[in-house]
Amino acid sequence: MEMPQRYQVNFFCDLDEVSPEASLIMKLNEAFKEHSLVSSSFQEFVFDGNTTTTKQRLILTTERKDFVVRFDKNAIIFEQVRHQDFEMPSLDKYLKKVKEVFKIINDNFSIKGKRLSFLFTCLLKEMEKKDLEKTYHKILIPNSYYAKQKPFEWNTRQVALSEYAINKKKEKINVITQINRSQGTLTLATGKKNVDRILYSSDINTNQENMNPRFDLSDFEIFLDKSYNQFVEIKKDFEEILNGD
């Protein structure tokens, strides 16, 4: 069975002035009570030339820390990670939550986004070694050496440019997909398990050429809807290739 590892949405904007002050924490704790999110802080290290500085930044987190909203210097990051004891929510459920949470944030902060991104990482279903090797030949065309020696680890990354219409704005979008064969250790409720699986990652983001503050709540929601649909379409396509002969 497929195993999602991480979902992440980034809303890039200027947030250097936002810090975990008492009045803000009180306001946000009240505003996010229904979402079981609590305000806290995390330590940000900034490595800059010969100086390393640290600053406390605001974070909203669930008790088990599987869903967090971090207020970095340059972005609001909505992250959902796999918790060993609980099932990861579905991607569309996560995105619905992100929209709800962002609406509350938008009501409390006056911010325009400079850039938006959506990331997804999952382990595809477990395969036998021979099927993992077959997958390699479906994705890549090896030379004679690797055709014979059968790599146990390989990476692919594809980046293409797309365009989304977001509220009368035409936005260039980077659409990135990575498919890798990776080995590692998974922490599960039953304990640690060594795995050798295909890791599928997607990164859809507005092109970095335009960093003007321009994205509002409506733009954010439209971007999430369009990038989700594009992600689903591309993944489905890849799965047909991988599951085919």
Binding site: S19, P20, E21, A22, S23, I25, M26, N29, E30, K33, V38, S39, S40, S41, F42, Q43, F45, F47, N50, T51, T52, T53, T54, K55, Q56, T61, E63, R64, K65
Partner: protein, 180 residues
């Protein structure tokens, strides 16, 4: 090349010579600093968390009395300052549903200086004001009472308690802080 680690805590700039919060590292590499911080945050953190949780569960917590858990935190704060504040904050969040541990953490905080605990201590106490348990909320109010810092009056005035005894206590603490 020696690299001085300068810290910005809220608006205050601390230099290494003023702060016990960190160590001098001789390196010319940003990566090495990053690795050191990550390694420190994992190794020392694990040691602290394990010991602290054990003390939270084994120590006797009563208002006005110190205990081994409190002593341990005081020592850790003097050695590792900034990191310990973050670690305590993490433990608090992880144990929000554990009324005993939450309450114990607050009883430690109320005996420590709010300046020493920084924004992490404040965020813990503020989160506890909205806790579903009356006992935890009572402890949170007592934290602000003991800290004797009028800066938090606004935060305390923004909450209300449906339980009459708790609301009365809250109003008394607000009145006390306003009198300072």
């Amino acid at each position: 090349m020696e690299i001085e680690l300068a810290f910005q805590d809220f608006e205050e700039q601390k230099t290494l010579s003023d702060s016990k919060d960190f160590f001098l590292i001789e390196t010319s590499s940003k990566q090495e600093i990053k690795k050191f911080i990550e390694k420190f945050n994992i190794q020392e953190k694990d040691l602290f968390l394990n010991q602290f949780k054990r003390l939270l569960d084994d120590s006797n917590f009563e208002y006005g009395f110190s205990n081994p858990a409190e002593h341990y935190v005081r020592e850790a704060l003097s050695n590792y300052g900034l990191f310990v504040r973050n670690w305590i904050s993490e433990i608090f969040i992880e144990n929000l549903s554990n009324e005993k541990r939450t309450s114990s953490i607050l009883k430690i905080l109320m005996h420590l200086d709010s300046e020493e605990l920084g924004c992490q201590g404040v965020s813990i106490a503020l989160a506890a004001l909205s806790h579903k348990s009356n006992a935890v909320r009572e402890d949170a109010i007592r934290v602000f009472e003991n800290w004797e810092n009028p800066n938090y009056i606004t935060a305390l005035k923004s909450i209300s308690c449906s339980e009459e005894w708790l609301q009365e206590m809250l109003e008394e603490v607000i009145a006390y802080l306003e009198s300072l």
